[in-house]
Symmetry: C2
Subunit: 330 residues, 2 copies
Amino acid sequence: MIMNNINKTISLESGAGGEKSSELIAQIRKNFAVNHKWKNTLDDGASYKIGSEKLVFTTDAFIVDPIFFPGGDIGKIAMCGTINDLSVMGAKPIGIALSLVIEEGFPAEDLQKIMQSIGKVSKETGVPIVTGDTKVTEKGKIDKIEITTSGVGLAKEIINNGGAQAGDVVIASGNLGEHSVVILAKRFNYTTKLKSDCQPLTREIQSVSKYLTACKDPTRGGAAAVLNEIAEKSKVKIVLEEDKLPFAKETVALSELLGIDKFSFPSEGRFVATVSPKNAQKVIKILQKFNPEAKIIGSVKPGTGVHLKTRLGGTKIIDTPRGKLIPRIC
Amino acid sequence: MIMNNINKTISLESGAGGEKSSELIAQIRKNFAVNHKWKNTLDDGASYKIGSEKLVFTTDAFIVDPIFFPGGDIGKIAMCGTINDLSVMGAKPIGIALSLVIEEGFPAEDLQKIMQSIGKVSKETGVPIVTGDTKVTEKGKIDKIEITTSGVGLAKEIINNGGAQAGDVVIASGNLGEHSVVILAKRFNYTTKLKSDCQPLTREIQSVSKYLTACKDPTRGGAAAVLNEIAEKSKVKIVLEEDKLPFAKETVALSELLGIDKFSFPSEGRFVATVSPKNAQKVIKILQKFNPEAKIIGSVKPGTGVHLKTRLGGTKIIDTPRGKLIPRIC
């Protein structure tokens, strides 16, 4: 992909979380040594057996604009992103490595706010920051601040995304896309009462993880990207139902206003999962204690792809997002 | 420190690897949850016992200018930096998480070169890149490319920096500061035949690790910073001898030309260590197979601080670098 690109430079589309992203990653991966002790290397995190435990390892870079937004800031999102990547794999996060690149002249007060926000998630979840790096760069080398959080966690069993089975139901832990709506609204000076959904999912997932056959957090590329990933890896078809969609009215409105499919809106504190029908009601009941909007949104069938069954009985295919659909917000 | 800063913004001095860096880090750490299962959290990496193994976890952010330099590039330095942080703690690196932030329009050819260089270190050391993240940002949000490498490794025994004992000798694995010289020379259009010392230290350290009582790689802040760290944590005095200094002539010349203490020049593929005198010759002999310049550079005494015994019999104190001594080069 990289060298076929007509202008021979890296484009924003390559980093937007859709199909071009996957191509860029595949290209990048070709050069590396392989160690077959590592599993799940194409998942949210990779896993490695140590004794009777599975170590899960993940990383995420965050440049967010604006860095403060209703419901959070870059620090909160960086912590939640990495904690959630470990959590959706069924791991208990045990430690975070925090890397900061800060532009010279960045307000000390803003840095303190971000650190307090990181500290708050750390304390709430009991996940310590155990190591880190701080670089301060000359003005213009970076826009304000960049945070990379890497995380390690331990799991007895990995929830992998190839585990969805025909017959399972598809659930959402709450309404999706609200982080996206808040950030877009702030950029376009559009007024919304919604708050970012940014939050750690550790306890929510741990309370139901033994029932989940697949689990992903719909960050970059939104539900469209992660449901397609589950369908592809599990070799199944996912059918969503239009009258059970996990979106707030304002999310639907902004989606229509901007002409962007709501399924591609990222969340930063939600997950979608598949679960055997016999456990579905139990799982929903537990999840609704955390978020009353948790619900069944569809079902798993033999076949391929992600389909939306409309109210009128039609079918719409929901593809993995391609190109630069929305400004990068995570 | 942060809020006492008169102009209330983050300054370059805070990230230069000297005393201000430590203050910034201490300030940042205050906010976080603590888990006493983690050890060595103020070292190059933190460690956590899993079964009979110790997991070591580390992270490092790299913005390098220029991104290509004699002897390496940002990809090589990012891999070596993290592999070396694990290695100096006595751990065998088992996997790297690679996070890239790339500016839109970055030449695809340059990205491929960097990836090949990362792949080369990965294959040479047998350390796979097991997970990663790639973000592409709008122009101006980042200068070209930023790489954060995080690493996990396994150790039977951690080499911690508080282990140096009076009576030990101090060794250097080769001449120091040459990465720094090459980068500074390129910035100031100064001609040098030296190449960056940037290289993975995995095999070198593994071949002698059981003999080392303390070990550090002198990156930011150079030998001055890491020898002071060893002296402080081990509660000993380190005495270096002027006629055994580990510097090439050109390093000394550039140091004098720029008026910067050569002990503060960073290396990216060297280590300094302490070792019991009975093992010293054995260790040096092994290390000289990797680098003929490996040698004893001083000794450990009761007391505090790092002292340089001059040829004329005088003593000079080598302090931890303070402020922004040299342009940030790693």
